[in-house]
Symmetry: C2
Subunit: 371 residues, 2 copies
Amino acid sequence: MTIRDLDTPCLLLDHRRLDANLQRMADRAAALGVSLRPHLKTAKSAHVAARVTDGNRLGITVSTLREAEYFADHGATDIVYAVGIAPARLDQAAALLARGVDLKILLDTVTAAEAVAAHGAPFQVLIEIDCGDHRGGVLPDNPLLLEIADTIDGAVAPALRGVLTHAGHAYRVATADAIATIAEEERVAAVRAAERLREASFPTDIISVGSTPTALFARSAAGLTEMRAGVYVFFDLDQQSRGVCRRDEIALSVLATVIGHNVDAGKLLLDAGGLALSKDTGATAFRPEVGYGEVCDVAGCQPLPGLFVTAVSQEHGHVQVPDAAVFDALPVGTKVRVLPNHACMTAAAYEEYFVVTDDAVVDRWSRVNGW
Amino acid sequence: MTIRDLDTPCLLLDHRRLDANLQRMADRAAALGVSLRPHLKTAKSAHVAARVTDGNRLGITVSTLREAEYFADHGATDIVYAVGIAPARLDQAAALLARGVDLKILLDTVTAAEAVAAHGAPFQVLIEIDCGDHRGGVLPDNPLLLEIADTIDGAVAPALRGVLTHAGHAYRVATADAIATIAEEERVAAVRAAERLREASFPTDIISVGSTPTALFARSAAGLTEMRAGVYVFFDLDQQSRGVCRRDEIALSVLATVIGHNVDAGKLLLDAGGLALSKDTGATAFRPEVGYGEVCDVAGCQPLPGLFVTAVSQEHGHVQVPDAAVFDALPVGTKVRVLPNHACMTAAAYEEYFVVTDDAVVDRWSRVNGW
């Protein structure tokens, strides 16, 4: 079967690019002398996990407990759930512990710590640190850090394992130097929080940082035990626009069909719209022209010059054409590939990947979605 | 079971608001003297379809052939597939005809018309008209209109049934007068195209227009046979921000849990992020403050003053708080409801609706997603 035989829209995963991306990050972790704990929120597929974890040698990261259950079903035993735990989810987390999964949960408030302490299950706990992203977490020097640690460490059942932070603000810059500076902030925040815990005699055997940009551009991992990264498995325009990857490293694309020509409006229409591509426009901060995706040919996934998804409605991708010759080059029925802005968001609309090498479809890999 | 017993994030559908919305549009169609052909791309649920179509009395509209197959499985027989047909999808469409479904397909190019003519199946064809939205369609006075009609009408198997247009540009304005003006453009474009076809002796038994805003604010449906509308079944902030509905008519909300407090950053975190809410920010054109959603209480779905989802990452909704008292009012573990920007996009992330009356969960309704 070739790509041209597939119904559209569907999700294509380039096998060679995937493998090269996995190797690039594995080499990076080795060079920094730190463990890699891949974040599987991007791929959400046991088939990708098997390649990225090299036969379950590595621990993994997930963003939902449904992912944790799915990957546990496929053999994962060492899992960090890297989103603050809702107290109502503790029974579900305890069930994973009871089946033998070494699950680490995350929290950043005394309220959540008290719920964990009161539950009675032997939870493994990481405290979330805010390293400058200002999403979740406590600042490394906030007195709350020790109060939360004391609540966990003073209880009978749970065990404090250490700290975790994520430099999401690395997505707001676009040079290697700026990313490296943020990577150092991420490292220093985690190490500083761990030092404070150690000085107060709390355990800190896990000191976890990570994002794809900071993992790739960090100059040091001194004092860290692991780094997490997710989107590097596929990359996307968001990463490419920030200089984190080259366009020909992007392993994920959406196969679409030209379904209309609005010649008067200078526009062709694709059957990949807001649902098939997502409404993420992250790459436009640094590459305003890309809109909702960059249009490429089917065979080589090479850009068709000047063609971008300039607008979307639910099932339509609008492509403003630079000149009328495009209508002749891409008649109704032509298939194209669209490089997505944000792989994590785009992939979530699909049940499976069609794995491709050049234009051959070599496999189908399932995903886990939802909550 | 009450709403508070549900795992988060999940999708809540208010039963009374849904029924009132269905009645409002049914009354509107009756007042205009035109048939209503509900667009089920928003709800994608046979349970909603059964209520909206009043026992299959009405024809329906769909945005994918997967929806067409799903609704046919649930008894629908009169279906308009309102997205330009990809020639490679003709076999799939023919299979629906073969099982007795009166499926109407849409096209706007001679290329697609030739593929339909050459196929051999008795396709029912609508020609898409551009009434000013500049998405798909030919302008009513474009010579292409007659060329496409001739290609279909001159072939043995397919039948030309008429024209279809959609005033998507009604989403760019925010007053009843401005919407009414666009509704009139939509009507005139469809009627003009049909007149040209009739003058050339082509059949035009279907003259179809529609969008939720234009359906609700049109002053006339003279010359039309039907109007399509979809998002009115649920409404959303996008519609509310344009004055199309009141906030207390929005039937869809996302149930979320407070999973973190970043007191230093003045922010609380929800477990509903970019995947659970979608990254659509349509309402911000007219209500910039709403961000990715408006935060409401669980019991009455009433707005919590000043609380909006100001940013999202994959599984985090960030809520910048106006004052620190919010942290005491909404401790970690508190559940809230988030009104979505765009119901069609948000609902697509979920497998089912939890149907609620006040805070009681009275039913679970499945959806069809994907392609």
